[in-house]
């Protein structure tokens, strides 16, 4: 299975924000809500006076959003992409609050969490992620890091990479930056707020009760297998 990775070359970004608008339109997002971004930070050492740093969900190896989700709606796929099952999401906001990158938001109308999934639906049609496709300078490079012929694997093999991660308890982001990038110190580890953490406990209890119910069902299943309900003496009135 593919292992999808995005590598970003910030020296090529000019902050035109085509990537942001392309993402919104491709994925039918509301304007004003974003799955990706370009950070603009004053930087006297940069020729333009600013450092531009494109980003989106870092598709962490140990995603805190997955751990925080009480309903298991957020999950990390075998392809490395962290996704949200919107049928399961209850919109509690736990994942939004613990993401060190602010990569998620709660859709104001649907009431569920939303985030970058590397344009999974349109990739199924053979398209590149929208942000990659729209970028005039190809600052974002995307592909299968396990395929040695893939451009992203090739560039990762020869370029130094920088990870932007919190100083403590790094979730191990898989989205990386080629060479240097600024700033690197902005993500922050955030503990789950007490009410949301309590929801996690309640959800665990509900799941435990669910398991207990399942155990009962299995019990009945085994009982019926060994001694079906209809295996006793027949009702003479119904055998005529």
């Amino acid at each position: 299975m593919a292992r999808y990775v995005m590598a970003v070359d910030t020296s090529r970004c000019m902050n035109c924000r085509a990537c942001i608008l392309a993402c919104q339109q491709r994925n039918g997002l509301r304007y004003g809500y974003y799955r990706n971004w370009v950070r603009r930070t004053p930087d006297a050492g940069s020729p333009s006076g600013f450092a531009f740093q494109p980003g989106s969900c870092m598709q962490c190896e140990n995603p805190p959003c997955v751990a925080a989700c009480p309903t298991l709606a957020t999950y990390k796929g075998k392809d490395g992409v962290v996704r949200v099952d919107k049928e399961r999401c209850i919109g509690c906001g736990s994942c939004v609050s613990v993401c060190p990158y602010g990569a998620r938001y709660r859709d104001p109308v649907l009431g569920v969490a939303d985030k970058c999934d590397y344009c999974a639906p349109s990739r199924a049609l053979g398209l590149e992620p929208a942000c990659v496709q729209a970028c005039a300078t190809r600052a974002r490079i995307f592909g299968d890091a396990d395929d040695p012929n893939d451009p992203v694997a090739k560039i990762l093999a020869v370029r130094k990479v920088t990870r932007v991660e919190p100083p403590e308890h790094s979730p191990k982001p898989t989205q990386v930056y080629l060479g240097e990038t600024k700033p690197t110190d902005w993500p922050r580890t955030t503990a789950l707020a007490a009410p949301l953490a309590m929801m996690h406990v309640v959800a665990g209890a509900v799941r435990w009760l669910g398991a207990l119910s399942l155990f009962g069902v299995v019990g009945v299943f085994l009982k019926e297998l060994v001694l079906p309900s209809g295996s006793g003496p027949r009702d003479p009135d119904k055998t005529a």
């Binding site: 020296s11 000019m14 035109c16 796929g77 996704r83 639906p121 199924a124």
Partner: protein
């Protein structure tokens, strides 16, 4: 109650449950692959070829269409000029086409207010006005009709409009960019024999040095940043001349920040340096130019010390710049539109052309001049003359048209774009009110309605098919993507319908852009090889000229290998009589000039930002407004400190002609003493993030021989209380 289940039924249920569980597990795998089926609300039903109507990059894309609406755009990866990249302006088309704010029916101004009328009635009314003007004024009607471009549509629409104006007897056409950025095109045409770039953008990777003279490519033409990126990767030394550090700076090895309006001084000093240092290519100059002695006299005073005193640059960085250019074997200069936006812009352009010429950097691979203000393939005048007969005289520029309007000497004006693109916006508005009948072809309820008698709604480009051209003289084609709402019609249809009314026997017969394109192709020899079939099959079009389908494509330097120019005598005249000597002077009203006003000590400049293109369109897109936070003025922290202005504070930007409200943005990325503000905010914007008094409302009506002045005026900032 006891439930009875047979063993057979139970086994069936069991098998079903286990299968369901297995399927459920495989479902998890499927979603984990990240390739779940496309949600029904996202899958496009079809994809249609189109292009962006805004800038000269002319990005091509595939419009993704669902339920009769464009839902997204995918750039054509096969477009060699853009590589499939796009910018937010282009993508805003998705929203603009579907905007509920569009006016979709014709409106006629009456004594009791706006009255909605039918499209047919609108056409009849326009034809009546044109016919009446001709009947009243006879041949003199030529100067009493006018049309402003751009039309935001396609070449066929431009042709249809020009034919209508010509057959109505009019000659005044305000071409795209005529008022603000046409100096470069005019000087190129006069001195080199071409109104366009002298080479194509792909040549910059073959240059040793590229000079971006006021050309903020990354902000104004983002997709072309890929060429800067390619050039940088190829080891090209990219130098940038701009009083602001911008996104473009990131692609450059060095930046010079001269005072606004002094680029010409820097270029004149370069010419002197090249002559004095022996770097000048005397053989080339002797073979391909005239007037070199006069040029030598013109630049005599511009030694590095004088250049330093006028530009504010240090003598060391000036000499370093000159040494770099003198040593460069191949240099391309990319001219920014800003150079044309000062009174005296023609001097600047002449000096830069001379700078390239004396080092033999005009003709050949990796040499030449680029401008984003050209690109228009020739043949238009040839076609109009052929179809409609010769023009009954010469047209005037907007400066003279404005004077005519003020004298009630204009009967019908086709206003196809914003009048707020002209300086002295308030004066222009009042003058427009003196025009007998203003027909506005527009989209949204903008300020143009204040001066309009008849509004006829236009279509956005994806709502009709047609051809267009880009900066490399490439001709591209778009198909119709979606139906237009209400009575919106494309320009080719509106102008054709009017033309048929006023000249039924002479107006050419065509029912589609394809038919008009074919008529044009058959008429103009340089277009013969640009067939519809080729255009429709190509992701980035066909480069003009192409006399036949098998003619080799002409990209790269326009000039032949021997370096001859395209002028009548094959030479570049440094000192044509019609232009006189090259004499530099500060912009009019500049705080550094003789006519300065001490009350306005700061230099005001304006420019496009990445989310803006003209006043009537992009301000109506929420998709662009989300990246904006209203009018701002960019100034250096040292300048702000002297005025007592802090970061983010509300200020009044004042000139001698008025004031606008703005927010102060402080950064060391701009030269002290200079104030920058974006060009295209408008008062009619529905979004506060893009709403502002137009900046041109506080500019005077200053012109040089070609263009109006938009930059360099004295201004001041005051804290709002």
């Amino acid at each position: 109650m006891k439930t009875a289940v047979s063993r057979r039924t139970f086994i069936k249920l069991g098998v079903t449950s286990v299968s369901g569980a297995l399927l459920s597990e495989s479902g998890t795998d499927a979603r984990a692959m990240g390739t779940a089926s496309v949600p029904p609300n996202l899958a496009p039903e079809r994809s249609v070829k189109s292009y962006c109507p805004f800038c000269q990059v002319r990005c091509t894309y595939q419009a993704q269409i669902r339920d009769g609406k464009i839902v997204s755009l995918i750039g054509e990866s096969g477009n060699r000029w853009t590589g499939g990249g796009m910018c937010p302006k282009c993508m805003s088309i998705v929203e603009l086409v579907n905007s509920p704010r569009r006016i979709t029916e014709p409106r006629l101004r009456t004594a009791s207010g706006w009255q909605t009328i039918s499209y047919a009635a609108a056409v009849d009314l326009v034809a009546e006005k044109l016919t009446a003007a001709r009947a009243k004024h006879g041949p003199a009607v030529a100067q009493r009709l006018a049309l402003t471009a751009p039309l935001w549509d396609c070449r066929e629409s431009e042709l249809a409009a020009l034919m209508t104006l010509r057959l109505a007897g009019g000659v005044n056409v305000m071409h795209s960019g005529e008022v603000c950025i046409s100096t470069a095109s005019s000087m190129f045409s006069t001195l080199l024999g071409t109104g366009n770039s002298t080479t194509t953008v792909n040549q910059i990777v073959n240059a040793a040095t590229v000079v971006l003279f006021g050309a903020n490519i990354s902000e104004t033409y983002p997709p072309y940043s890929r060429w800067l990126d390619k050039a940088r990767a190829a080891g090209v030394n990219i130098l940038y001349v701009d009083c602001r550090k911008t996104q473009t700076s990131g692609f450059c090895s060095r930046q010079l920040m001269p005072l606004p309006g002094t680029d010409g001084v820097l270029a004149l000093g370069a010419v002197k340096y090249f002559i004095d240092s022996g770097a000048c290519d005397q053989d080339y100059v002797a073979r391909t130019t005239t007037g070199f002695d006069t040029l030598t006299k013109d630049v005599a005073g511009y030694d590095p010390a004088k250049v330093a005193s006028l530009t504010g640059l240090s003598p060391a960085e000036i000499e370093d710049f000159y040494r770099t250019l003198a040593a460069s074997r191949r240099t391309i200069v990319w001219l920014g539109g800003s150079l044309s936006r000062y009174a005296g812009g023609s001097t600047t352009i002449r000096a830069i052309i001379a700078m390239q010429a004396v080092l033999n950097n005009l003709a050949g691979p990796g040499k030449g001049l680029l401008t984003m203000e050209g690109g228009k393939p020739e043949g238009e005048d040839e076609f109009i003359d052929h179809v409609c007969g010769p023009a009954p005289g010469s047209g005037v520029n907007f400066r003279r048209l404005l004077a005519a309007m003020k004298k009630d000497a204009v009967d019908v004006l086709f206003l196809n774009s914003s009048y707020r693109r002209y300086p002295d916006g308030n004066g222009v508005r009042e003058a427009l009110k003196s025009v007998g009948f203003v027909v506005h072809r527009g989209f949204f309820p903008t300020e143009e309605l204040d001066v309009t008698h008849l509004f006829v709604p236009a279509t956005f480009s994806p709502e009709s098919q047609g051809s267009h051209y880009g900066a490399e003289k490439q001709v591209v084609w778009r198909d119709k993507c979606v139906d237009a709402p209400g009575s919106c019609v494309p320009d080719w249809q509106f102008y054709r319908d009017v033309g048929r009314k006023i000249a039924p026997d002479r107006y050419p017969k065509f029912d589609s852009p394809e038919e008009l394109f074919e008529l044009f192709r058959q008429t103009v020899p340089s277009w013969r090889g640009i067939t519809l079939e080729r255009l429709k099959a190509s992701p980035d079009g066909v480069v003009w000229p192409a006399e036949s389908e098998d003619a080799p494509e002409r990209t790269g330097s326009l000039f032949p290998e021997d370096g001859r120019m395209l002028t009548a005598n094959g030479r570049h005249d440094f000192a044509p009589k019609m232009l006189g000597p090259i004499v530099w002077s500060p912009p009019k009203g500049s705080p550094k000039g003789p006519d300065r006003d001490e009350k306005y000590p700061l230099i005001l400049i304006q420019g496009k930002i990445v989310t803006q293109w003209q006043q009537t369109l992009t301000n109506f897109a929420a998709s662009l407004a989300q990246f904006s936070s209203g009018r701002y003025v960019l100034l250096h922290p040292d300048t702000a400190r002297g005025l007592g202005i802090g970061q983010g504070e509300e200020v009044l930007l004042e000139t001698a002609f008025g004031s606008v409200e703005a927010r102060a943005e402080l950064a060391g990325t701009i030269l002290p003493g200079v104030v920058f503000t974006p060009s295209h905010f408008a008062g009619s914007s529905p979004f506060p993030q893009t709403r502002s008094t137009p900046i041109n409302d506080i500019l005077p009506n200053y012109w040089d021989r070609v263009s109006a002045q938009f930059n360099g005026l004295g201004c001041t900032l005051k804290k709002r209380t």
